[in-house]
Symmetry: C2
Amino acid sequence: MSISTRIEAALETVITRAEGDQTPPGLAAAVRYAVFPGGARVRPSLCLAVAEACGDDEPGIADAVGAAIELMHCASLVHDDLPCFDNANTRRGKASVHMTFGEPLALLAGDALIVMAFDALAQGCAHNPHRLTPLLRTVIQGVGMPRGIVAGQAWESEAHIDVAHYHQSKTGALFVAATRAGAIAAGQAPAPWTALGEKLGAAYQAADDLMDAVSSPDEGGKPTGQDVALNRPSLVAELGVRGAFDHLQSLVREAVAAIPDCSGASGLREIVQAQAMRLTPKQFSRSAA
Amino acid sequence: MSISTRIEAALETVITRAEGDQTPPGLAAAVRYAVFPGGARVRPSLCLAVAEACGDDEPGIADAVGAAIELMHCASLVHDDLPCFDNANTRRGKASVHMTFGEPLALLAGDALIVMAFDALAQGCAHNPHRLTPLLRTVIQGVGMPRGIVAGQAWESEAHIDVAHYHQSKTGALFVAATRAGAIAAGQAPAPWTALGEKLGAAYQAADDLMDAVSSPDEGGKPTGQDVALNRPSLVAELGVRGAFDHLQSLVREAVAAIPDCSGASGLREIVQAQAMRLTPKQFSRSAA
């Protein structure tokens, strides 16, 4: 089964179980709207690719972990789009959750998605609780305080920000959780997989900053020009467009080099390079290739 | 050590660990402000009282579970007070979190508190992962979809609401999680403890509706008259003030009767009755006694 098929099936399983038969219909609809159809599923794809490269001896756990990582990501998008943050009207090429369901259900859908992510981990590890504790710890590090995505978003409320630290939390932390959790899901130690997550997270942030600066809203499926409009720290503001692009290319090379020796290393290198191409704004694609 | 001392110490432990050394200062402050000083700590007190009545063979787990239940409650208060829900300017007798730190940090503090609650469970069970899975499931049932507090809040966005079902989710679910998780924390089966949580949750909701209808903001530490102002379903609207008070008294009697046989049953009965008195608005205290 392809990684993409595994992810969509795992998400469907978790959400269907959470809905039960008595979820308020608006909340159930908002949650589905926030998750389906998905974006590129970059983080869970990475997580499952690492699990496969590590032997994937418990595919049910890996599926649950991939779903948990993506649900956390979806929750952060729903909350980030709210009027008190980015006030974004569109996401993934359609109206954002609060534009469609209103602010109260968007806020609650985000909360429900966070809880659901933990439910995925608990259910996925029900027969193997010894993998549950390190998986919880890894996912929590990716999303919570002090250095997860919630903390990253909170740096935007501070007067003084270290841009690298801000980006590591806001974007890098969930990539690191994805690679480390993919290894744990397959029974392997997470430490050798940290650098891959860090490099890819940084590359993704560089690509996102470039996309925000030079793309049309159609290309990314969300508003562009937001970093300047919201006065957010950005690699483009720091290095210029060309500098940010060069930095992105270096990070992709470093990510590929950071893949540890393992049975599936060569396949994983191809996946990482393909993802990197996909992330590059169209006008740079030729020089990236 | 008293239950109250245990709860404050457990909350301090969880929050200090989550802060680490690099949490954005505003987020760290908002989280502490949301948790300290506490309200009555009704839910974690109940959770620890049940654990003690069940023998409390792993007090570290019970402490972590009590903290997790309270952190979930604090998260729900922070999000419920936001302008898109109750738009409450005060909570626990002081300015609400968003009035003090702004909406972005209030929203993120709520998210961080949810994640921190799961961290408490994971850390508390680190040496006993076999209790972790049922504890996670129980807490998730109390807070998530389909019938936890997030779902309860979401019923307010529906045109047609079953009031009993709405209250069971919005308030009862976390009381049920508190009693059941208290039993699991002490290595006992949760099922016999469900009815106690249900009855106390319903009693608490009745008391909250009464307090909203007949008390001053000073007495409850938060705005009153909100159910009528926000056109929310309420027991007072349904049964009148006297009817709601009679119903509250019946529920407390049923809660006391629902306490299962166990070594600590008589102490637990006293705790339940004392909590019930505390919940009753002042003008009813004499007739309740």
